[in-house]
């Protein structure tokens, strides 16, 4: 209980001080629909002003351009929901692409290369996880360290040059299309569905939110903090490996200088989507919206041909605007709640979203530990 008093932000004793459901639904709805609505508005605007935008080839391009960011951001969502950060995913994916390409070139085997990528990703995730949990190093510093190490190793392995000459079988995979879309897009969709399931339908998914929301409460309810934190980093490591494989598919070469800012972009995509950087609140679906918003915006800015410097200004402004919706949501709730109740009620954790799809109904069989789901 002392811990709860220390961090009233996270405490939400059920039955007490819970605002009327109707109010929370309104705030939550605004919160949940904000980014998708902005995205739709952007798509509508770009389609109206540029003929090339909604062409089949450009839609494919946007999806392809979003794929690597998406895979990394889906993995990062779990890390952030658990209240941690992983900065090593960008240079990590560059290093793993170099490792995978080198193995493929040396052995001539695509499977060996893919295996090497996954193994390297697992190792990276384990190192991050062990440093954070066993050595108690804050994840920002721990993964900053591995980020720098990965960049250094990638350059040492290649002298900064790309590793090309992958087996011809691998090139065929890259050009393969299913139902009109490149295999990479389907792969990204599969990663999304898998992680969505993991977040919504497994005990682990709720444990991640619980640990990120209130670590002490989670510990007292019998969740092993170390195990959950280690697992989110392993998950991020594997996502990094998948992103590296996606990079190999996309450009058919190991790229030591790629993805320098990818980890930060992934964090931006996660937060823009509406996942709390403090942990305990968020979802993979939100991240999907965040990624699509960034990818469409980037593509639209490139097509519009405006000056590079202003592009950066627009991009930064959109990041801030989209992320500030959390504040707006709270304002919206505050206006409708009596002042005496307002304080603690404002910060009650919002449940993970059900997402746009019909597949998931309510919080299902798994009782969430800290995120008490209000019934709509």
């Amino acid at each position: 209980m002392t811990a709860m008093r220390e961090r009233p932000v996270r405490s939400d004793p059920p039955g007490e001080r819970t605002p009327r459901p109707q109010v929370r639904v309104r705030g939550a709805l605004f919160d949940r629909l904000f980014v998708p609505v902005v995205l739709l508005a952007l798509v509508a605007y770009l389609s109206a002003t540029n003929d090339a935008f909604f062409s089949r080839i450009n839609v494919t391009n946007v999806l392809m351009q979003a794929s690597i960011l998406a895979i990394v951001a889906f993995g990062a969502t779990f890390v952030i929901m658990a209240g941690q950060l992983d900065l090593s995913m960008g240079t990590g994916s560059a290093l793993i692409s170099v490792i995978g390409a080198t193995v493929m070139v040396d052995t001539g085997s695509v499977l060996m290369g893919v295996g090497a990528c996954l193994l390297a990703g697992l190792l990276l995730g384990l190192v991050n996880g062990v440093v954070v949990t066993a050595l108690q190093v804050p994840s920002f510093i721990a993964t900053l360290g591995t980020m720098i190490i990965c960049g250094g190793v990638a350059l040492a392995m290649t002298n900064g040059g790309v590793v090309s000459g992958l087996p011809s079988g691998f090139r065929e995979v890259a050009t393969l299309r299913l139902f009109g879309l490149p295999v990479l897009v389907w792969g990204t969709a599969a990663v999304f569905l898998l992680l969505w399931w993991l977040q919504r339908q497994t005990v682990f998914g709720y444990q991640v939110l619980a640990v990120g929301g209130n670590a002490e409460a989670a510990r007292l309810s019998g969740i092993s903090l170390g195990r959950v934190r280690l697992l989110v980093f392993v998950l991020a490591g594997l996502a990094t490996a998948l992103a590296a494989i996606a990079l190999l598919v996309r450009v058919q070469s190991g790229q030591p200088n790629a993805n320098g800012t990818l980890a930060l972009e992934a964090i931006a995509a996660v937060v823009v989507g509406g996942t709390s950087l403090n942990g305990g609140r968020g979802s993979v679906v939100r991240t999907l919206w965040g990624v699509l918003l960034i990818a469409v915006l980037r593509n639209g800015l490139d097509l519009s041909g405006i000056s590079e410097d202003y592009k950066q200004v627009v991009l930064g402004a959109v990041f801030i605007l989209a992320a500030s919706v959390d504040f707006l949501r709270r304002r919206l709730v505050r206006r409708r709640v009596t002042p005496s109740v307002a304080g603690p009620a404002l910060s009650t954790p919002v449940p993970p979203d059900a997402g746009p799809g019909p597949a998931v109904t309510g919080s299902g069989t798994v009782p969430p530990t800290s995120a008490i789901a209000p019934h709509r």
Partner: protein, 344 residues
């Protein structure tokens, strides 16, 4: 301190090249002698003399070009009995400032710097010059204010590289056509000066329409691919894609291929001439790349500094020009031979 050297030598192609270059030491010496008449005495008389220490600070590790530069300088350093210590500025002027300042506390006999920024290092060069430590800049020149503090400069102007590339496009397109420029990193001298030189040439050719495209933000094929996809979507009938680096240009090749554009119907050019790019030229995918001959540049820089330190020979001109080699399908084999012999 010399950590980068062993890793450089473990690369098969570099090892091969270094071995070939060592075998051709006689040739190396004659090349060194050619680069300036005054150097002949010192070059042939080098080797067994007093042990020198040279501190070298590079722009970054991130491009093979810089690693070639180090390998070239290292080869000449070994031949001249020079201990070479290398540090890397990682594209950060502030870090580079500190590194050069730290290097000066070792009281080296000379310093070779590839500056990240044309102005930021001038105070520390001034400090070196006051302390009697000669400084040579290479690859990127500094602003005129700093010239009195340095021995000279070894390198090729990026604006000239841009001009040559633009002229190649003008000639290839017969003076008529649309060129889309896809840049590397905003604010990076390598990207900006090349573009500046290229724009000068395009401006003189009214038949050429220039689409000033996006910056990729990093030198990776994926970034180049995404940028080229968007440029080709917005401007489906471009005749040529200009990239300021090969890694992004290789992404441009993929973008054109995925769009179903035949490689004969589009001209794609880059800069750097690394092995994957040269292979792409040989395969007819990339039309042209320019190698700035990092290995030769490194050798020339080391020779220029050593002859100044040993014999007080100042370079005849403030800037020692470095040759670059245009790699096209026609010149591809000649350039490969030059690189194999260590002359580029």
């Amino acid at each position: 301190m010399r950590t980068s050297i062993p890793s450089t030598l473990t690369r098969p192609d570099v090892r091969r090249r270094t071995a070939a270059a060592l075998a051709a030491t006689g040739l190396v010496l004659s090349v060194a002698a050619c680069s300036g008449g005054d150097e002949e005495a010192s070059a042939s008389g080098g080797g067994g003399e007093d042990q020198l220490t040279v501190e070298m600070n590079l722009y970054s590790r991130s491009l093979p070009y810089f690693q070639d530069f180090v390998a070239g300088a290292q080869e000449r350093a070994e031949a001249e009995g020079v201990t070479l210590n290398v540090t890397y500025g990682e594209t950060d002027p502030q870090l580079q400032y500190d590194q050069v300042q730290n290097a000066l506390t070792q009281s080296p006999d000379g310093v070779i710097v590839v500056p990240v920024d044309p102005a930021a290092l001038i105070p520390v060069f001034q400090q070196a010059s006051d302390g009697g430590v000669p400084v040579l800049t290479a690859i990127n020149d500094i602003e005129e204010d700093g010239w009195p503090s340095v021995v000279g400069h070894v390198g090729k102007e990026y604006t000239d590289v841009g001009r040559e590339k633009a002229q190649y496009l003008v000639d290839t397109l017969g003076g008529q056509g649309t060129v889309a420029m896809i840049h590397g990193i905003r604010g990076l001298l390598f990207s900006e000066l090349q573009a500046q030189g290229a724009m000068e040439v395009f401006a003189e050719n009214p038949g050429i329409t220039v689409i000033d495209g996006p910056y990729t933000g990093e030198f990776s094929s994926d970034a180049g691919l995404a940028a080229a996809e968007n440029v080709l979507t917005a401007n489906p009938d471009v005749d040529a894609l200009y990239f300021d680096n090969d890694d992004i240009a290789l992404g441009g090749v993929l973008a054109a291929q995925q769009r179903g554009i035949a490689m004969e119907d589009i001209v794609i050019i880059g800069t750097d001439g690394g092995e994957p790019a040269r292979q792409a030229v040989a395969a007819g995918e990339l039309d042209m790349t320019i190698t700035l001959c990092g290995f030769l540049n490194g050798k020339q820089a080391m020779d220029t500094l050593v002859s100044f330190v040993r014999d007080g020979d100042e370079p005849a001109e403030r800037t020692v020009e470095v040759t670059s080699q245009m790699v096209t399908r026609d010149s591809y084999e000649d350039v490969e031979a030059l690189i194999a012999s260590g002359d580029c």
